[in-house]
């Protein structure tokens, strides 16, 4: 989930041009892998007093992309929901007129819940109903209301806890409550691999922005052949995949003849946040049961469900895997050329659904188009896992664990929602019929292509949704402006 290859060396693939970096939150360019511990504070500002954002920034200064990482032992990022912006003095009409529809309708609008698969009849909910959202009008209500998300990154547990306590107290003084908190962690292996709870190396594949706003190698049109995506896909105001400046919120300000539009979106982005709970016992039980039918072992099947082997190397036909590069698993590949029919990495596996690369091309001539098209639907992932590691013999439900999915995009519909609907949960993805993502979709069949005949197994549900919302992650200038008003 972090931006580095296996969290190995916390080295950036890209950086912003200096002028833009100063106005952008550090969260955009870095996963803060050098700060392995973090706390996510979900804030309810219902009873907030004026000046609460100023008070917050005093105890938790928001890190900019220009700050040198090596010098920092703490970093912070902040984002606001649609109703959170109302708590900062923007009226609802202005929010609806200037932000994208999914942002102000919310993730829990009944039609959107259906599209995103967040329904109890799919068995994809953790508990009876999702716990938190920003509770905008027209959406299904949740018990907790979240107006802002503050993520605090620190070097160790002690520091993270101290800081979170300090921030919580300061916020109480200005009437802001912590609705819920999630301790996040990377927890590197001794060999410096960050794994998610099922045991797989995570965060290997990330888009690499390019364009005039990017510093160094990718500044011009020199884009990475597989993962190069225009900066505007993740930052408002910069050229996006449709060759136009990614449209962010413009806010009318001033009175009558002095009125103008303030570019609130400048160097900001939308942040998609989803609290996903992982049922590790259920996962391995299901893998064992299904693998037994195939006379294979559970790990073999789990690797096919994910599409990579546990250390992150791509599965190739003939029970082989892709050779490593010096930096870690090789991620510079298309599916069409390496494994068109999914004999190694199954067509319906999680990595292939989440980013099909050129794999949806009907023939070799269409590969370049297919890759370009797939790259119009990428996310900059910033998620981290929460909860303790699973221990042998433990039962699901004893301790909660999972992934706090956080991803940046400037067009929620075309990026996050498209991926979820058209790829991950699509029952007719590629040439498959009647099956969804075997890792995070509802229980159902999963096809593993093979010669002479495919395998078909049934897998259960192991990832469940507990709450989520669309946030606005402002640039530094926008944050200052909001602070003046709220």
């Amino acid at each position: 989930m972090d931006g580095t290859a296996l969290g190995r060396a916390p080295k950036q693939h890209w950086a912003l041009a200096p002028g833009i970096a100063r106005d952008t939150q550090g969260f955009v360019v870095s996963a803060f892998a050098h700060l392995p511990v973090a706390v996510a504070l979900f804030l309810d500002a219902s009873g907030s007093e004026r000046g609460w954002l100023r008070a917050l920034r005093q105890v938790a200064p928001v890190t900019t992309a220009a700050d040198k990482e090596a010098n920092r032992t703490r970093s912070a990022a902040i984002a606001f929901t649609a109703t959170g912006l109302e708590r900062l003095g923007l009226d609802r009409r202005t929010v609806q007129a200037s932000f994208e529809r999914p942002f102000w309708e919310g993730m829990h609008h009944p039609d959107r819940r259906r599209r995103l698969g967040d329904l109890s009849d799919h068995g994809l909910l953790h508990g009876e109903a999702p716990r938190w959202s920003c509770n905008p009008p027209g959406a299904d209500a949740t018990t907790l209301t979240v107006h802002a998300l503050l993520v605090l990154y620190a070097r160790d547990d002690q520091d993270a806890q101290d800081w979170a306590r300090q921030v919580t107290e300061a916020l109480q003084d200005v009437g802001v409550q912590v609705a819920c908190r999630l301790p996040l962690s990377l927890r590197f292996d001794p060999d410096h691999v960050a794994r998610e709870h099922f045991g797989f190396a995570d965060g290997i594949s990330q888009p690499i922005p390019y364009g005039p706003g990017v510093a160094g190698h990718h500044a011009g049109q020199a884009r990475d052949p597989w993962h190069g995506v225009p900066l505007g896909e993740f930052l408002f105001g910069h050229s996006n995949a449709h060759d136009e400046p990614a449209p962010g919120p413009l806010i009318p300000v001033g009175e009558r003849e002095n009125s103008d539009l303030f570019d609130l979106g400048r160097n900001g982005s939308y942040l998609v946040v989803r609290e996903l709970h992982q049922y590790v016992e259920a996962f391995w039980d299901s893998m064992r049961a299904a693998a037994a039918e195939l006379r294979k072992d559970a790990v073999w099947l789990a690797e096919r469900v994910v599409g990579r082997e546990r250390d992150g190397d791509l599965l190739l036909p003939g029970n082989r895997q892709m050779a490593r590069t010096a930096q870690g698993p090789d991620n510079a590949f298309g599916f069409f050329g390496t494994d068109r029919h999914g004999l190694g990495c199954p067509i319906g596996s999680h990595v292939r659904r989440a980013n099909p690369r050129d794999g949806l091309a009907p023939d070799a001539a269409a590969c370049a188009d297919a890759l370009e098209s797939a790259n119009n639907h990428r996310l900059l992932r910033r998620g981290r896992k929460f909860g303790p590691d699973f221990e042998e013999g433990e039962r699901d439900g004893e301790r909660e664990r999972g992934l706090l999915f956080m991803a940046l995009n400037t067009d929620i519909t075309r990026q996050f929602e498209f991926i979820q609907q058209t790829w991950v949960l699509n029952k007719a993805f590629a040439t498959l019929q009647g099956e969804t993502d075997p890792l995070c979709g509802p229980a159902g069949p999963f096809t593993v292509p093979d010669r002479p005949l495919r395998w078909k197994v049934d897998v259960k549900t192991f990832v469940r949704f507990a709450g989520g919302e669309y946030f606005f992650l402002p640039g530094i200038g926008a944050l200052d402006w909001l602070q003046e008003r709220g």
Binding site: D369, A370, D411, F418
Partner: protein, 543 residues
């Protein structure tokens, strides 16, 4: 929301049911309630297996005062049809030639509302209209009574079918008012509904048979052996596997498609060559090429900026073949006409006002949002105004016709592809209101967003040509470039032109175009007595 989505939610249930349920829904009634004469029944049977599909729409002007009544009647009809288990069961059974049907009322700021019945079915129109009338005749008559009487020769016919107590058949009137598409596209061309259903049942049986077989059976088997084994297993249950199916595109249709395309190309050349023909007739022979060359100059001057600016979008032709063709056209005197047209079009394009922020009707958006994404497939209906001017009038007609004829003959398009996308079951454009408005319908797989993204990312050129004559369309370049690639603006424009369909029927709501082709490939494979090793491997991969 419940009433609007009523026809869709249960359909989903129908789709979600186990295979046997959908088989029941698929089997057309063998003994329809009506006592059809033998000849008519034979004709219906022929239509059911026809490999050629008809796409048409009937556009009726609604009496504005009755628009609300009409809306309620449509709601009632939808409730009635979708109230069955599975939903639309009767329509499905009684009209076995029908693939997709939609009925939509399009409100319009500049016109009275229109009622559009969009139908995609097997065989010729007459049997279809009769089947539809037999099933929902009284409803159709009620709908027609909410429409304005025509002011042309059909007035008497309209009077006869809509007056109180009228029982005269509706089919002749509907057939007369039908508009044929200017351009259409089909994902599974040549597959009748009967055949799709037959192959669905076979597919389910194959999957079930494979599921029951212990995996050990296949250990060590080759693809050829699997094919032979499965064929033996299936032949008992499906005796039709022993005979070859009809070709999807009959010879007559194939040659007809080519003849129409060539005829069209001839007419276009004739039109462009008209000035040259006059010149050849009136002037000495040697003067024509000279005049032709001179006549090209003003257009080239006008277009020089374009050629400089075009950059990567327009490849200035350098291949000998293209240069040679240009030389021939120059000598013949056609090139100056072409260049003049391009220069004029480019000028129009530079001045056409695009609509960057089309109005958003919140209520309509909510209706569409509530209705969409309940099935694997979705429906889109749109009406836009056409840009004014003689040149635009010619361009839209010639463009749509030419592109449409090309799609009929290109092997990839015949196989269901537009560029590299294959998600459209049935789509068409038609000019209505004497060419004043352009109507678009599509029945497609996946979400509306993904459908439009496919167009934006993969098939934007053809789409831009077809829609660039719509008022407010994003800026284009030479009718072919840009346009739809302004993705966000294009989506906003398209969404604003849509109306939520009041009634929408799909005969096979769980099947995608890809899946229908997959089932077809499996069926065709099982019909073969034997296969080469390589072919068998490709075939077993689709199981």
């Amino acid at each position: 929301m419940s009433s609007q989505s009523a026809e869709l939610t249960p359909s989903l249930a129908r789709g979600a049911e186990a295979a046997p349920g959908s088989i029941a829904a698929f089997r057309p009634g063998t003994a329809p309630a009506r006592a059809a004469p033998t000849a008519a029944r034979a004709r219906d049977e022929a239509a059911r297996h026809a490999t050629r599909q008809t796409i048409l729409s009937v556009v009726l002007e609604v009496e504005p005062k009755r628009a609300e009544i009409l809306r309620r009647k449509l709601d009632a009809l939808r409730e009635e049809e979708s109230g069955t288990h599975p939903p639309f069961n009767e329509l499905c059974r009684e009209v076995p030639v029908l693939h997709f049907l939609s009925v939509t009322i399009f409100p319009d700021d500049h016109h009275d509302p229109v009622l559009v019945i969009e139908a995609n079915f097997d065989g010729p129109p007459a049997p279809f209209w009769e089947m539809l009338e037999t099933h929902i005749g009284p409803h159709l008559r009620d709908m027609l009574r909410c429409c304005k009487p025509p002011r042309d020769a059909d007035a008497a016919l309209f009077q006869a079918i809509t007056r109180d107590g009228a029982t005269a058949p509706l089919a002749p009137y509907l057939a007369k008012r039908a508009t044929l598409p200017a351009i259409s596209h089909q994902g599974n061309r040549g597959l009748s509904r009967a055949r799709i259903e037959q192959e669905t049942v076979l597919f389910d049986a194959v999957q079930e048979r494979l599921r029951r077989e212990p995996r050990a059976t296949f250990a060590g088997m080759t693809a050829q052996q699997i094919h032979a084994w499965l064929r033996a297993e299936m032949r008992r249950e499906f005796p039709w596997l022993d005979s070859a199916g009809p070709p999807r595109i009959a010879d007559a249709e194939h040659y007809g498609d080519w003849a129409r395309l060539l005829g069209f190309a001839g007419l276009v050349l004739l039109g462009l060559g008209l000035p040259a023909i006059l010149a050849w007739a009136l002037l000495p022979w040697w003067s024509v090429p000279v005049l032709s060359l001179l006549a090209c100059l003003p257009s080239l001057v006008l277009l020089r900026r374009e050629l400089r600016e075009a950059g990567p979008t327009v490849q200035v032709p350098r291949s000998p073949a293209i240069l040679g063709a240009a030389a021939v056209l120059l000598v013949l005197g056609i090139l100056p006409v072409l260049l003049a047209l391009l220069a004029r079009i480019r000028r129009l394009e530079r001045c056409d006002p695009p609509q960057d922020a089309p109005p958003v009707d919140e209520a309509e958006v909510a209706r569409m949002s509530a209705r969409e994404d309940r099935l694997t497939q979705n429906h889109m209906g749109s009406v836009v105004l056409v840009k004014p001017g003689v040149l635009r009038a010619i361009v839209i007609r010639a463009g749509l016709r030419g592109l449409g004829l090309l799609l009929r003959v290109r092997p990839r398009a015949r196989a269901g592809y537009l560029a590299s996308m294959r998600t459209i079951h049935f789509a068409h454009w038609a000019l209505i209101s004497n060419g004043g408005r352009l109507m678009f319908f599509s029945n497609f797989d996946g979400t509306w967003e993904s459908y439009l993204d496919d167009f934006i990312e993969k098939a934007h050129n053809g789409l831009t040509l077809a829609w660039s004559s719509g008022v407010g369309f994003p800026p284009t370049r030479f009718l072919w470039f840009e346009g739809a690639t302004h993705g966000r603006r294009f989506k906003a424009w398209a969404r604003s032109s849509m109306a939520a369909s009041n009634l929408w029927f799909s005969a096979y709501p769980t099947l995608t175009v890809e899946q229908i082709e997959r089932q077809h490939a499996i069926a065709e494979g099982l019909r073969k007595a034997g296969m080469e090793a390589e072919e068998a491997e490709a075939w077993t991969a689709r199981l």
